[in-house]
Symmetry: C2
């Protein structure tokens, strides 16, 4: 009931739906850690399923891996995260999500104004207000837009 709790990478992949290569990639990036067998094979904790699941959800919400790493870093080290630890994380993500929705909603309102005036013009249209130009979309976008 001890070694039984250690999963090889393929198992973890099966359980989470991630590709084996993706999990190795995440380990490389420090998002997840693994023990090694004598034969140098990775063995993961059961709780890593949840960790990876969290990564998937957070990505789905548009967070980048580095942001996710930051979130995960708030989990307690040394011990397996409890349910309430995860709830805390979820709430933190919820906040980020709220912000994203708000931003999109505000942008939509401006777009509506723009449809009204039909301008799409740099000088007049609110959508071009520099101050407001940060991180609106979820995507990568050109530097300029994300400045």
């Amino acid at each position: 009931m001890d070694k039984n709790d250690l999963l090889p990478i393929g198992e973890l992949a099966r359980r989470t739906g991630l590709a084996v290569s993706a999990i190795r990639f995440y380990e490389d990036k420090g998002l997840i850690q693994a023990m090694r067998t004598m034969g140098n094979q990775r063995r993961f904790l059961r709780s890593d399923i949840r960790r990876l699941s969290f990564i998937l959800i957070a990505q789905k919400l548009g967070l980048g891996l580095s942001e996710i790493e930051a979130e995960l870093a708030t989990l307690p080290q040394g011990r397996t995260p409890t349910l309430s630890d995860w709830q805390k994380l979820s709430r933190s993500v919820r906040v980020a999500l709220d912000a994203k929705i708000q931003l999109l909603t505000r942008t939509r309102a401006k777009l509506d104004e723009c449809i009204g005036c039909g301008c799409l013009s740099l000088q007049r249209c609110q959508l071009y207000n520099r101050d407001d130009r940060a991180g609106a979309g979820g995507g990568t976008g050109p530097r300029y837009v994300l400045d």
Copy 2:
């Protein structure tokens, strides 16, 4: 009052806030077209300012260049787009935006359920429903998530 209306690339860059290299890149991708002087320099129409502005806005809303290209393709060819042409486009983008907001909002609702149950578990949590896993975030994300 004719040649006067043709802008060199630097002008266009200044007016839109885009980098010259970005504009050339967009031309390469077919998002915008230019005439050439005898000396092989690009000359753009005034209406291209608006075209580029549209690209910026659409990107801000999380659309990819290929999606934007598709939108732009609905503009009339041969003549300079009218105000009402642009309004039509704006409305089309508004629809996409609505969808994006809805998706995020639904996801938020599920996240709330998840906070409630605290599971984050592949078997039980709605967030993991495969059928629902398509294109939620704005970002690129792993293939798997966007399938």
